[in-house]
Amino acid sequence: MTEDLKKRAAEGLQMALAAGADDAVAHVGDSRETEFTYRDGKLEEVQQSTSSGLSLQLYVDGRYSTHGTTDLRPEQVRRFVEEAVALTRHLEPDPHRVIPDPALYTGRPDADLDQVDPSVDEVQRDTCLDWLKAMDEITHGDDRVISATSSVSLNSHASARVSSNSFEGTNQNTYIGYGSQVAMDEGDGRRPEAYRGVGARYLADLLPTEEVAREALERGLQRLGSGKAPSARTAMVVDPEAGGNLLGRLGSALSAGAIQQNRSFLADKKDQQITSELLTIIDEPLLPRGLGSRRFDGEGISAKRMPICEKGVLRTYYVDTYYGRKLGWEPTTGGPSNIIVELGDKGLDELIADAGDGFYVDGWLGGNADPTTGDFSFGIRGHRIENGAKGAPITEMNITGNYLELLQNLVAVGNDPNPWSSFRTPTLVFENVEFSGQ
């Protein structure tokens, strides 16, 4: 399969060079996706399709452009590439734009990242329907459930990337995920919803479907009886699923592009303490079965383990070839792979007990952060923490602050990383967080 992809990518590359590109990168990807959705006792939706595309990066007379097409009729592709090269000539030349240094392609790790589970392709429709029927039954296990939807999705993906300066690489992976969503009757017109889903490269790594459905129902029941708590400056316990989003927001401020454009509050912070000493974050591309694992990045740069933040000290930015040249920095890698956080020794319940009072946040509702200043304001979903235990669910509340201050206020890191994401964040506990409520 990958040999055919390599051949097709090489054809795309040759076409670009023949049309006049000085350098080029061609990428060809095929994917297959199947999804079944089941709601309230019957199959609601079946979707299945395969998809292919060609994308190109062109370097023409010191100018640069990118292109993608899914119209793969040979004559159309040829015309598309010719027009792409012609368009590139109209741009302004940019001395910083060059194809990556082939030295960055060397030393590619040959570790087996274990990204393909052959059994994902073999999952039958009837198996999916059996899972979904069972999940549907479990999620309807309470009179207050108005509607419950469960779904299964199965994906497989393969791609090849070749460049005019000798890069050649292929990727293959599978993904399987399932989850349930429940809508509950609050009794006052409100119909709170809750979701539980899991996904992984390997079918065998998933929680059993029944457990996922039970947890979805449990989450729904926990949303009942929510109210707004008074505004306060207090402790915040962020659960592992919600933590990925909170830390993930740092990504844009860590990119060389943001720094070069003066839009990063983390510029000039390298080798400085940006969080409390409790936080160590590693970018780990070589994690077996990891959802963000890769042997080379989007530019072909060979993957390696990279500390982002060690005991609170910022160590590295995400630097690609282009912005690296603009800043005079060595490229590292263009963006995150798997994010691993060094774990503490306590679990969620213990950390809630330690917090004593405050709020437990298990999800976000809108909000945003400004990567230029680090200012943020997020809507939250979760529970009060009272006397060391999870209390009533909360609604209509926000947190507001600045990332640099928040990260310094990190007082505990859990031992419970979220396995269902490339951001494997554990429970995180912050103090002195500004909550807006009643």
Binding site: E45, V46, S51, G68, D71, N262, N398, I399, E434, S436
Partner: protein
């Protein structure tokens, strides 16, 4: 097959299909007992350009082409797409879609007839005919116009994108509709520095229109907005935390309607009983000066549609009339469920996606008050003026939107700029709590994209100046 002369539209040639092929694929999709099927052919061509550090140094072009095949039985959907428009590939996809049903064919597809649609987005030229060299100067002009406005600007980034989309929809109940959809977006991001502090903000302008809409005056206005919004951030504070009266400035504040009400009125959530609005039809949900519409017919608006993505005619749908809830937003499945005509709200991101009820341009008509009266009526509160994003929980009704720029009101007067504030409220409560509305309704022309179940759709929104009695304001505790 019928004996009448075949229906031919130029897009049939474009997609290399004829009436016979369409009939065969629809028949295959219905071969296991579906009661409806449709084909959504789409070809889109897009061009984007970026200016950074003074030069237009990046371009992207894209071509996407394929057909989405849907088989429907009641409210159950089978869906598959094919990027290959050869008959064999389409038949394979149709067979997959057909598996939602499990009997033999019950109905044959009807003979298709071409349906004419209005043209809500006339342009002088389609984007396919516009040369790159005509687009380039727009970015350069934007950069110099922005720089001329303010000395403390460090960086100006300008992003351009346009697309030219051809759509052909054939349905098993005999409709054949075609549409050509333009879109163009210009956005300008500014970074400025004062005393070592950087601030950044942006403005955008998006229309289903041709290059003629990007005249010097328009470019100047976009730059003015981007620069003003950035410079205000240097002085801006965080507001107090907690429940406060919120004045929504005319225009982009329509995000309140979109999040707090619009999503909850999408009929898929109501037929499933999961929307907080599902039992409120024909009830008073707002003061009687509130009339809210969702409109596909505004000339050249980002949210406008000549025909929806299921081939249904579009319209201006009155959702709330004089405070009374009058209509949901329907696609074909929900319209059948409720036994009423579709409101032409069935939309999909691309041929890879299943259509569902979506908003188009959502706005509230003007009310009886003035902006000055509204501000004077607030003792301690905020004005929300520019926004980056919003979200809603359909069932619980909790909605949020993020204010990038706003103002503090103290003693009925505007006193200081504020920034980076998330607002949370509950939809039906907020609607009941609308206390005043001015006569200054404006549709915002920024590049808004609505997300639902992983699908993006271009939309717009508008509002007159409105006072909501109380929302939870993300801020700082005393």
């Amino acid at each position: 097959m019928s004996e009448s002369p075949p229906q031919v539209h130029p897009y049939m040639t474009w997609f290399e299909v004829d009436e016979a092929a369409i009939h065969r694929v629809l028949s295959e999709a219905m071969s296991r007992g579906a009661d409806f099927a449709d084909l959504y052919f789409q070809h889109s061509q897009s061009t984007s350009l970026s200016l950074e550090d003074g030069i237009v140094n990046r371009a992207n072009t894209g071509v996407d082409r394929g057909v989405g095949i849907r088989a429907v039985i009641g409210d159950q959907v089978g869906y598959a797409f094919s990027e290959n428009l050869g008959i064999d590939a389409m038949l394979v996809a149709a067979r997959t879609a057909a598996t939602i049903a499990d009997s033999g064919a019950k109905l044959p597809p009807q003979e298709i007839h071409l349906i004419d649609s209005p043209d809500y987005y006339p342009t002088a030229r389609v984007w396919e005919e516009v040369d790159t060299t005509e687009r380039l100067p727009l970015l350069q002009k934007t950069e110099s116009a922005a720089r001329a406005l303010e000395e403390s600007i460090e960086k100006v980034s300008v992003h351009w994108s346009d697309s030219d989309e051809r759509v052909l929809i054939a349905t098993s109940d005999g409709r054949l509709c075609a549409d050509r959809r333009p879109m163009a977006i210009l956005s300008c991001q500014i970074t400025a520095a004062k005393n070592g502090v950087h601030q950044s903000n942006f403005a955008s302008y998006a229309r289903r229109d041709g290059i003629e809409t990007f005249d010097d005056e328009r470019i100047q206005a976009i730059c003015r907005e981007a620069v003003d919004r950035t410079m205000l951030l240097f002085e801006a504070q965080r507001p107090p935390a907690g429940e406060l009266p919120v004045v929504l400035a005319a225009g982009a504040s329509g995000i309140l309607l979109h999040e707090a009400i619009g999503h909850g009125l999408e009929a898929d959530f109501n037929r499933k009983g999961t929307s907080i609005y599902s039992t409120l039809m024909d009830q008073q949900v707002a003061p009687d000066f509130v009339t809210m519409v969702d409109d596909a017919t505004i000339p050249n608006d980002r949210g406008s549609l000549n025909v929806d993505d299921e081939g249904s005619p579009t319209e201006r749908t009155v959702l709330i009339e004089d405070g009374v809830l009058r209509s949901y937003l329907h696609d074909r499945i929900s319209a059948n469920h409720y036994g009423i005509p579709s409101t032409g709200s069935g939309r999909r991101q691309t041929f890879r996606h299943v259509p569902m009820p979506r908003m188009r341009s959502t706005y509230m008509l003007g009310g009886p008050h003035t902006r000055d009266e509204i501000i004077a009526a607030v003792d301690r509160g905020i004005i929300a003026e520019t926004f980056t994003n919003g979200q809603v929980q359909i069932g619980a009704g909790d909605f949020t939107f993020y204010i990038k720029n706003g103002w503090l009101i103290e003693g009925g007067k505007v006193t200081a700029p504020i920034k980076d504030v998330n607002i949370i409220g509950n939809g039906p409560d907020a609607l009941r709590d609308v206390q005043m509305a001015a006569d200054d309704m404006e549709i915002d022309m920024a590049s808004w994209t609505c997300g639902k179940n992983g699908q993006g759709a271009p939309v717009s929104q508008g509002l007159p100046t409105v006072l909501v009695k109380s929302l939870t304001v993300g801020g700082v505790n005393d």
